[in-house]
Symmetry: C2
Subunit: 345 residues, 2 copies
Amino acid sequence: MTADRGTPASARGGSAPTLEMVAAHAGVSRATVSRVVNGSPKVSPDVVEAVQAAIAVLNYVPNRAARSLASRRTQAIALVVPESTAKVFNDPFFATLVQGIGLALADTDYTLSMLIESEAASDKTRKYLLGGNVDGALVASHHTGDHSYAHVSRALPVVFGGRPLDPGEQVNYTVDVDNAHGAEIATEHLVERGRQRIATIGGPQDMPPGVDRLRGWRNVLDRAGRTSDLVEFGDFSPESGAIAMRRLLERDPTIDGVFCANDQMAMGAYAAILETGRTIPGDVAVVGFDDDRYASMAVPPLTTVHQPSLQMGEVMARTLVRLIAGEDVPSATLLSTQLVVRASS
Amino acid sequence: MTADRGTPASARGGSAPTLEMVAAHAGVSRATVSRVVNGSPKVSPDVVEAVQAAIAVLNYVPNRAARSLASRRTQAIALVVPESTAKVFNDPFFATLVQGIGLALADTDYTLSMLIESEAASDKTRKYLLGGNVDGALVASHHTGDHSYAHVSRALPVVFGGRPLDPGEQVNYTVDVDNAHGAEIATEHLVERGRQRIATIGGPQDMPPGVDRLRGWRNVLDRAGRTSDLVEFGDFSPESGAIAMRRLLERDPTIDGVFCANDQMAMGAYAAILETGRTIPGDVAVVGFDDDRYASMAVPPLTTVHQPSLQMGEVMARTLVRLIAGEDVPSATLLSTQLVVRASS
DNA sequence: TTGTAGGCGTTATCAA
DNA sequence: TTGATAACGCCTACAA
């Protein structure tokens, strides 16, 4: 295996075999080869065999660009994530989401292409989407950014994960988790456990889940006639959770329960609580949101709201595939959540 | 914004504007438009302006398939990760790696397309790579799987992250971390701290980092005339780390130091150590490897070997880009590591 | 069941 | 500096 160093990709040895070469090798026309490659039913068995043999011998793989140009579709879909790379990878939510998408796509022969909106690449992404690279797009965001992709949905089937920030803007095709209800059952759980001073570490208020989870917490306290002023905000990172928790404990040292808008902030809260000599759940009960893989490994294991991210990925992908096929799909799907009680509450 | 429901992507309103339409609109030939789009220097200023105006008006975006077909290059590179989706996303190493790649690619106009080798899609990936979808590929693996992509490097420029498992197989263009040396400084640190019974939780022995880090640990103990038999293996997950640690403590309750082949297993070891009533580092000193974001958040903060994953991503990407351009690049690059001493040792 | 031929949207080679 | 005019590799009526 000698190095091809210095050789431009376009000029590699023998270059890629084309459909025409296969046709010649098999002694048939290009059309017939095309039929075999695309699994057309009306080709005689022996011809199929001959063509497949030729394909194997030449190690032929159809050129996607050519195929896409001719057929006007790419068999690829994009997953757009308007977040920084760091956030995407450190948020276990995305892991499961992508897994769900992959699962749903495994049956099909769609290819997934991830576009992570890092630093300055917004226009690059737009061009990619509009440049005929994909048959459709999945936009998975917890961010305002959502509606910045609303315009592409005029040129391409798009399914959004999470509702738009502004309920007014009617974005078609969204799949969302019932965040408010999840926060409610979490907070109710703290109330039922007899906690008196229940605080919350809220997520960013420019992200729907941040808003909805805060609202759920507030709903329960309001209904119970409690005050709902013990709020500090974080950015969903562990660090921010620790900072927020420290502030809360300074503001009110009698806090005995806290609902964190996600598990990572809950992990930060753990650190902040423990460093004051308080115990969990003895002094402060903690409930998170997401049920990520660290939740059960924490000491003590974290009570949290399970986020159906796998299911969300699956539903998003299936919805998009059906949309591309021109089928009728529901405009919005809401997935339910569930409380997982562990030792932290 | 009405829904395009039921409309195949190929038949959307007005469809995508083509180069030809721009040409007509600007009153020039297609060739000229192409020149403007590609920034050719030999076009008169006024023509450039007219064409750009037409592009703006029509909201034109070049079709990639057509461009790629004609130019025989895609301006896209693939990142192949032969791991399950879950692993990729839960391993903070990849987060930083991808970030580094993204950083290096931001300057260029290459697009990154991530191929995560989930469940059964190996052939899909191969076809993607060989189907002319990308100009080159980055293979980031901790896995044996490495050499299964060796053959694509005959058809495409490929840069591997991590050395191949078998030193014999000369894979060109690798960027790797000096794992053995990292493990050595970690173990030396435990020795210097006066630890007497130093165990290790090794990674999978079918992955180079697993092998190299174990070797580093062993080197130091052998040189110090200590026994190096206190080994249990994990799969780099927290759970496996906990299990391995329990076994170690059962085998030898006098263990007072442990080097874990990665931070996630160290987190598992923490749990296993603490659940026996032992303290860290009082009873057992723990050192990890990777310096992931949880390492510093742990209680106590974890001493670990910093992995230059950001740099690795950057170097890999830059190397590939140069390779595609036909430049000369070093066949192997080794990045150095560094010990970060925190409270766990 | 198979082959012929035109076209998909760009780039690139020649002339002009 | 610009414009015709072939490719690029494949798909798909239409014809045989």
